[in-house]
Symmetry: C2
Subunit: 318 residues, 2 copies
C-alpha cells in the first residue's frame, strides 16, 4: 500500500509554486536569499556541519514510509551526527531533485516532516535547492553550534578506563526493517513500534550536549551498525571496547519478534544501524538519559563480554 | 568525445577506498568524524550557508565538461551565493550519489576539481557523503563567514538612487553553452574562452566582501539570467532597475560568435545565467573590480536604457 499522495505534479504547478509550498510548510526568516545568514549561533561558538544524501528506493520507499516520515528521518539522521559531536543542531538545508511528474503534495509532505523534526530541536530549515531529476534524491545538511571551550566529542577520543554509554534503542530500527521486508507497512499491531523505529526514529534532543557537559570525550551515533560504528571508534582511538551482553541484550518484545520472524535478534542489536542512538565514552558518571553498556580498555577491537561478536557486519553504501 | 576516465569502478574498489581517494584529493583536518567542526570562522562572525544540487545530464555532461570542471563549477556556483551575501566562503560539503559502475577515477577527478576551487578561496572541503544511486548527483553545501556588524548584502536591499555594479562577465557562459550545443567540446579555437566560461566559470574571490565593505547594500549573482535575477531583486526591494545598454553590450568577440552561430548575442547577455558574476547596488563609489552597469530608481521592473528588455526569460528547473 503506497503511502504517497497524488494530485497536481510539480511540473504542472511550476518551480516557484513548489518552493512556496516548501517555505509555507517550513517557514524561516533566514530563507529566500542567495544564502541564509544564521542568527542562532551564539557568540564565540564553533560551527559544526554534516551532510547526508538519501536516494529513493535505496534509503527510503513510499510503500514503507510516508513522505512525512521520510522528511523527519532525513533530518533526524543528520541532527544525530551533530549531537554526536556534543553540539546543538540549529539549522538544516534541504536540496532535492525529483521527477517532474512527482505530486507537489508529496514534496510538501516531505517538507512538513522536515519541519516537525527541526522544530523538535528548536532549529530551522533555512534554505535549499530544487531541481528536476530522474530520481527523488534528498540531500540534507545540518548545521550545529558548539558552545564553550570544551573539545567536541570526537570518534578518536575514547580512552581506556572510560565507560561506554548509550541513549536510546539499539537494534529497533533493524528489527523494524525486517518487519517491513516481511509484511510491508501493514505489520502485526504488537510490533508497530519496531516499524516506527525504522520509519521515523526518535532522537531526543540534547543528549550529545549533556554527555559533553558531564565529561564524555568520544561519541558517535549508531548509524551503520553497533559493532561497525564502535569498531571505527576503537580503531581511531587506539583502544579496545568491551560491550556488556546483559546491558545490550534484546528486549522481551524484540525476542518475541525474532521468534515470530525466525531471525536471531542479536543480529539486529549488533549489526543493525539507523537507530541513530548516541553512544559515548565518559570517565564521569553516566549522563542523564544514558545507560552504561560497556567499558573502554587497552587493546584493539570490539568484544561482547570478552568474546568475538557473533555478528559484525554493518551497512555499506555499495 | 567523452572527457571522463575509465578504470576500476567504485563497486570494485569499495566505499572506503573511494572515500580515501576523495580525502586524498581534498584533504582537511576537519573531515572524518560524524560532523566537521569549523575552526576558520572568526569570533563573533555570523555563519552563512547555501546548497545546490547538480544532476548529470541536466546540470553537466561529461561529453562537454571534464569531471574536474564539474567539481570546480559545483563549488564556484555555491561560493558565488556566499559572496553575494558579502561573506567569505570558508568550507564546503560534498554529498554524492553515483551508479556503482562509475570509475573511481571519475569521482577522484571531481574531488580534485572541488579542491582546486576551494583552495582558490582558502577554503576547505570539510565533509560529505557517498552513496550508490541510479544517477550521478552532486549536492554541495557552502559555508561562509560574515564578519563585522554591517548587514549582509540581501536581495531586498536595493534603494533608489544607488548605482548597479557588476564584477565579471555577463552572457559568456550562455554563449559557451550555445557553442557546446553546436560543436560539442571541440569548438573553434577562437571561441574557446566562451566554452571555458561555461564549463568552469572564474569567480574572483572577495568581490562580495569588497562590495559590502564599500557601501553596497544589495547583491545577487547572475545565476538564472541577468533580467530574471534583477527582476527578483527589483521586486523584493520594491524598486526599478535600469540597465545601461552600452555598459552591458556584447563584446566584439561575442558579436562575432553571434554572427558565427546565427544567434543574437543580446540573448546571452540578458537571459543567460551561470556566469555567477556578482551584481550589487551601492550608494558609494564603484567598488574595486566592479564596473557600473545601471541605476536603481523608484518604480518597479527592469528596463534597458528605459525600454522593455528584448529578452526576459531565465533558467527554470522545470
Amino acid at each position: 500500500m503506497p503511502t504517497s499522495p497524488s494530485g497536481p505534479t510539480i511540473a504542472e504547478v511550476g518551480e516557484h509554486q513548489v518552493i512556496r509550498e516548501i517555505m509555507e510548510a517550513a517557514p524561516s526568516r533566514a530563507n529566500g536569499d542567495d544564502a541564509a545568514v544564521l542568527v542562532s549561533a551564539q557568540p564565540n561558538s564553533r560551527v559544526v556541519v554534516s551532510t547526508d544524501m538519501l536516494v529513493q528506493g535505496r534509503h527510503f520507499r513510499f510503500d514503507w514510509s510516508t513522505p512525512r516520515e521520510v522528511g523527519r528521518k532525513a533530518i533526524a539522521q543528520n541532527f544525530a551526527d551533530i549531537e554526536a559531536m556534543g553540539a546543538r543542531p540549529i539549522s538544516a538545508l534541504l536540496a532535492l531533485s525529483a521527477p517532474v511528474d512527482t505530486p507537489v503534495a508529496l514534496i510538501r509532505q516531505i517538507a512538513e516532516g522536515v519541519e516537525e523534526q527541526v522544530e523538535q530541536f528548536s532549529a530551522e530549515l533555512v534554505g535549499g535547492d530544487l531541481t528536476a531529476g530522474e530520481n527523488l534524491v534528498l540531500a540534507v545538511t545540518a548545521v550545529g553550534s558548539l558552545g564553550g571551550n570544551r573539545r567536541p566529542l570526537t570518534i578518536d577520543a575514547a580512552r581506556p578506563g572510560q565507560r561506554l554509554v548509550a541513549a536510546g534503542a539499539l537494534g529497533d530500527s533493524a528489527a523494524g526493517l525486517a518487519l517491513l521486508e516481511r509484511y510491508g507497512r501493514q505489520v502485526p499491531p504488537e510490533f508497530v513500534a519496531f516499524r516506527d523505529a525504522h520509519t521515523h526514529p526518535q532522537i531526543p534532543p540534547g543528549r550529545g550536549m549533556i554527555a559533553r557537559a558531564t565529561g564524555a570525550t568520544a561519541a558517535t551515533d549508531n548509524s551503520d551498525g553497533l559493532i561497525a560504528d564502535l569498531s571505527t571508534m576503537a580503531r581511531r582511538s587506539g583502544v579496545a571496547i568491551d560491550l556488556d551482553p546483559q546491558a545490550i541484550a534484546p528486549s522481551e518484545q524484540m525476542v518475541r519478534l525474532g521468534e515470530h520472524l525466525g531471525i536471531d535478534p542479536w543480529h539486529w542489536v549488533l549489526s543493525g544501524g539507523e537507530d541513530h542512538t548516541i553512544v559515548a565514552t565518559t570517565g564521569g558518571d553516566v549522563p542523564s538519559g544514558f545507560r552504561s553498556i560497556g567499558v573502554v580498555q587497552r587493546g584493539s577491537g570490539v568484544s561482547v563480554g570478552g568474546a568475538i561478536p557473533t555478528y559484525q557486519e554493518g551497512w555499506l553504501s555499495f
